[in-house]
Symmetry: D3
Subunit: 334 residues, 6 copies
């Protein structure tokens, strides 16, 4: 730990070294107009049983994504210490203020937690949370699984993902864990702009890191929660923390090789998607239209695919603003 | 028209009696802090060709429902006067202020247009819009189609619907039009509380009225917009306004016979749906859980089906508040 | 019940005619942007045991007053049917939306429930609540106790109160109940403007009605909650619903005979109270000063007592606005 | 006074029947979250000297118009009882909550005071103010002068105005008073929609009523305040309340004969005015353009004069919304 | 002064070196949407008379604490240069934007001034104020008194306080000044987290620093203002700036030796305090309960004292959120 | 370019090296609650024709100033590559989020772009825009013209301006360009606090920089837009980018030699300007009054000129707050 840094003000009410099941909080003092001596309370569960690897499982990194919170809240209710070899640290609502508000970012400081790493111990609330994961929780972990979905404004085909990394051995471990997760799709991602991401923070500490996108729209369904639950257990089995065999699953491997995968709008208006998630699109095809919202009778603006592939992600809300990503078209690798 | 009422302040920039295609606005003067002499401008298209029936087609009655606005904006762009016998009046964004804000209700006065009928010519902006439909547009129409979806907080199986009415001949006409629409599901509804609804206003004027719920979540998809577009054309053909044959469609008839169809939450928290839209559920089965958002390890509250049937509607957002309807279970009539 | 009125949309989940203890809600459907099929859920407890009088006990009529909610929430947890003869209806958070927001008035419609009677079944949320009390709950009651405090902006000497009424027999019953309550002070009030009050609605139905002011500032203390708890039990004993003897108490009787009791500010600024609650003040004495907040060195504006008496109420916040009541000076009758 | 109506809750701290100069308030009790026992305090000055006519002078009917407030605040500071024959009632900030917020409408209830007549004694704050003028202040007056300007979103050539009235004798009196005011321009107005206006309320009580538009933009200047001050004194001299000769002035008479005077926008964007206030425009000439704010290079939308005349009013802010009035073109009568 | 730092943009309108009484402002330019060339104006008074020590007296460090602002506004009105030996610098509303808004933190930047030291000359408004005290005002002072109370969300027994310091001579001077203040209680504090505090900034510059907590709830009373006024004069006499004898007072010395003094809530709900300020509590005793606000009949959560002592502080509002400090229990040293 | 800095995330959709006319955007990815994968889209036009100097023309640096946006939007629509020698880069709405909101500062981060230089590539949205101009656009330019006006809260005599610079050759070039612009007035400014300004950033890179103030009040007029359009063309001709002769203009040179030019208010209230823009004022003369808004009859506070000169700028809104600049009085140099 960097001696020059002041201590992070967060104090855990659980003991990470103790065997058994503990439910508690990460307590972050937060003085404000409506509570001078208040705190942000981040729920956490630690399940530990002797020696063995540590998995750090997180949901709610963005506060409007629900498969992770549901699957991890259920795991925290169910997991017994006796089932475990090593340790499982579960933080189902990582950016708790954002999660409680049902927002991507924190209502306190507009912080996008997933772009706030490595954080600051004397920064905003979101930066303090990032710093605590950076300097206290990530170092405890061998394997890190961060469950995302599209949130209120994006929708995705459900996939697990890992990054192309400079350390190929580390990348292989991540790919194996991604495959073990068993989502319907897998995505190998070359992050164009990895600055500030939790992913990068974990990978730079040499951890096996996998993430997901399991749906979107600010909701979850029985189907997508089942993917998350099965994926979490598969990964814990894969890591040797839970016993047994992973539930079998067949994944299709996707790739987003360059910026042509993205179709963005330069108009604001009423969105009409012409293809749905999972459908095949051909280069040059109209995949979306933006209609005028102030008058009838004007032709819609058409947006076409710059490449062929599978519609893997889309803008979710019915209205669109100039600059919004309308769709992502992925390669199917098999 | 009631002589005692003052005139509605809305003035149309189209002439309802003129043949041809006209794109214009319903102009409602609205003096406010950011524009002393401003107006609410509601886009409208009139397509008329000689004598014949009049269809009044509306979307955006609730501002966060998108199948109607997309299908009707497209129809307004495409429909030629020569295709038509009689008249089609298209208002794709009925509660325009709500639609532009992406909200169910109006940002001006929090008005839920579909609960504001018969409206008031000297009331709030939403009440003035209702009054204009009540006293000026509905009287022009023979057939009224109002396209709804679930909006940002509900999701529905896509269905067309009509009401159980005291006048059985009127009800038969509405049922025939509903069947003609050709949605995957049809719903015969006994409205428990019909006060203030546009539906009731139209039906009390003796009109053939049909409505829909075509999805939800504050989005639309290629699939649900296609249902809306095909349905609108089918209905216009059925009414004799467009020529040709309706696109064939097979509908399953649903019924919501009583209040036991509804499952409501008395807890606030994180929602886990245990069944998805269109799935069969059995009486007594757990169909949803509400998880604690302030701590881990507490058992979730379980909500069970009070009757067997098909999951026809659900709460959409990932968080739920006490009092929210979680799910609707419908009977399948065939 | 007035046949011309439509039904109130509130449905109770308790059966007022059933013996035993029931905890439930008054459910008021409320469609809005963040929940199309949501509801306001007003907690209610009914404790009934055979024949006997009915007491209707309410707190949270203003949402920022806490002695009533605490005392009644505790009573609802503790009261056994076997202790009761007749019926006790407990609504600890009467204006639930205001109470949950910690505000005097409703965040939904800015409604001051205590000025919304007789209410409207098709009005705003607050008006619907008022109508339900007016037409459904008040008719069930013999005795009505509505527990108030000063809320976030006023502070009071703790007193029970009843009104000067045209029906002297009714007034005598109310005075007896007020005395039974056993607060440190009692107040006989001649309401100058009784329009829209719950008090008036209850009294016009011939009920024995008493109210209180038990402190203020948007808080409660062990001392003021104890006054409320003892008062509620004393009143139920007095009404013959609970057995036993009232806890003895000595009350000082106060009077607010005319408008000279009130000292109001015509300046905005920093408030300095020169006398505290319960202190004796003499006519002409400076009881408060308002200091300039934009500069130092300017003389404060002085406010003087227009009559001698006891300081019975004061403006609570440290800042004051022009038009605010600074203090109330009451006569001590003994 | 209508006996069926309850009393208006406003109490004046001045005595309208007393000779001399009195500065006080109209006090309107207003219970709210931040002051349970607060009040709206509307400053008022009464200057009376024996028998004679009463003039009621108001500014701040819309809260973002400043020539009236400045001129009348100064008059209230300066006017001596000895100068006066009869009575002058001065309310410089008529809709005080709107005025203090610098807004056209009230921040309390969004009320546009000038569209709230005749008001309601048990309505919103704005409606209560209207009712007090309707039933208490207007009946005291012989002559009523209400000073307006364009506010934050309109700008006007400075003119005094009166209405075309059914009672021609009353209209002649008003025209004479308008001429006496001595603004650079005069306007004879045929109000198309007079519902709810203070003007109408005064005229229906048979008062001599004149109004003005003296500039706009939410500011005032030395020049426009001078017009207001001179106009007020001229009118009081004309009414026989002040002695002396009116300051001489030459007015140009304008007319707005029909709806073609108004040019409205059906686009939102960046406004370019091609003519300035007071300039002559010819029918068919481009008087304004609306530029796209989301991209460069697209042609601006042009708005043309529907008739020839003088540019008498314009939209003031640099951005414009669909529905806004861009300009008013008046006839010059001489 | 650090030469590398740019100048602080604040300019005082008083001359700290001039003898006599000066009332002026610290003027901090602040360009914003509603005033491009505006400024934050912090009132300040300087009373100087020849050579002698300098006392820097502040209130309103948190904007919702009122004993300091009232006592210091009065002192600034009353203090004559001839009474003084040396200099008194009075800033009654230190975080003026917060004070004018009645909030703990600044409405401009959410800055908690007492956690913003040493500040930044090119930072936010709050950071600029901190920097000005850090680099311009603290260096002028020998003795620094910063008057706090609990604000809107805490309530305290009235005490003066100083810190345990590494420099024991400095600590002794502070303790003597604290005793001289003469509050009913005194508190020797070991600040667990002193980062960013004004206290620390003053102490690190070697100043004699004392602070207070004199009540709370966002109000003040005649009693607590009297404590503040007497304390300020006592401290100035103690420092040799005012002549005379300190008003005698008997203080009880309290101690908060470790984290067990604090009782925090991990539930949100309705707060019931079971003990009041100043009461003795025993270890294990229930001192507060949190009641469910969504339903009746559920048992309240109980919070117990972790140690015996005196209830020295409490959460003030009637509602509580998870993470809030409920109470502080202090040792009585005598 | 500083190698240590990360790349700016903005990507242009135009190619600065390509000949011809290009209309595109500077695309700044901006992830937020209402669009996870959204972007700020800043419109830009590049007109290039072979070798030659580059002019960088900007409006909307403050989002409520309109002469620059209108003149530059028109130039972008009209300018042909064939007219140009070298390159013209046009950014009419520099702080696009502020411009679209009609606010001086950005609604995203409250950033005042003109005080955010040199910016940060990983800072707020406003800081990223500043960084992009600092490191990518300014280096491309020889001449930089940034068109300002007073915005919603200030009004100016229309002038072009340049700064007193340490490099006298650079200053001479700027003065020549300022004279070429041809505004009615010119101003030579000694910037007292140049920290963070775009001006300074450009000048420190050795560019010829000129700016303007062309009016104010949050509007524009035909007259002020004509000054801007003529000025832009004159400057491009002066720079040798456009051919032809500058439109002739006569400018009066003004000077603001010291802080006595500024008159500031220390009171809040209703503003009365006693002199208008362009009028001569004498030292000691009353140029503005501030009237009490809470009561009538109190004398206004008078503000007097500290020096003689021309009224060159004023506070625009009708209300004024303590700390606001009321007026600027400039020397007329000839």
């Amino acid at each position: 730990m960097n001696a020059a840094l002041r201590d992070n003000p967060i104090s855990p009410t659980v003991d990470f070294a103790r065997d058994g099941v503990q439910h508690g909080h990460l307590k972050l003092p937060y003085s404000r107009d409506d509570s001078a001596w208040g705190a942000v309370m981040i729920p956490i569960t630690v399940v530990k049983n002797g020696a063995g690897p540590t998995a750090l499982l997180t949901g709610g990194n963005h506060g409007d994504e629900y498969e992770g919170p549901v699957a991890l809240a259920k795991l925290a209710q169910q997991l017994q210490a006796s089932e475990v070899r090593g340790r499982v640290i579960i933080v189902p609502f990582m950016n708790t203020p954002a999660f409680l508000a049902g927002r991507r970012t924190s209502p306190i400081d507009a912080g996008n937690l997933n772009r706030s790493f490595p954080g600051k111990p004397d920064g905003t609330v979101t930066q303090k949370i990032a710093d605590y994961f950076q300097r206290y929780l990530l170092p405890l972990a061998d394997l890190v699984l961060d469950i995302h979905s599209g949130g209120k404004t994006l929708d995705f085909l459900p996939f697990a993902a890992c990054h192309v990394l400079p350390d190929k051995a580390q990348q292989e471990c991540a790919e194996a864990a991604m495959q073990a997760f068993g989502a319907p799709w897998c995505m190998r991602m070359l992050e164009l702009d990895a600055v500030g991401m939790y992913d990068t923070a974990a990978e730079e500490q040499g951890k096996v890191f996998i993430t997901t996108e399991l749906g979107g729209g600010g909701t979850s369904s029985a189907r997508t929660v089942a993917i998350a639950e099965r994926g979490v257990r598969n990964v814990l089995i894969h890591a040797g923390i839970l016993a047994g065999e992973p539930a079998p699953a067949e994944s299709v491997l996707l790739d987003m090789p360059d910026g042509d995968c993205f179709v963005s709008s330069t108009h604001s208006g009423l969105l009409e998607m012409c293809r749905d998630l999972g459908e095949r699109v051909e280069q040059g095809e109209v995949i979306a239209r933006v209609h005028d919202v102030q008058r009838t009778g004007t032709p819609a603006v058409e947006y076409r695919a710059k490449r062929s592939g599978l519609l893997a992600a889309r803008h979710f809300p019915g209205l669109v603003q100039s600059g919004d990503t309308l769709a992502v078209i992925a390669d199917v690798l098999g």
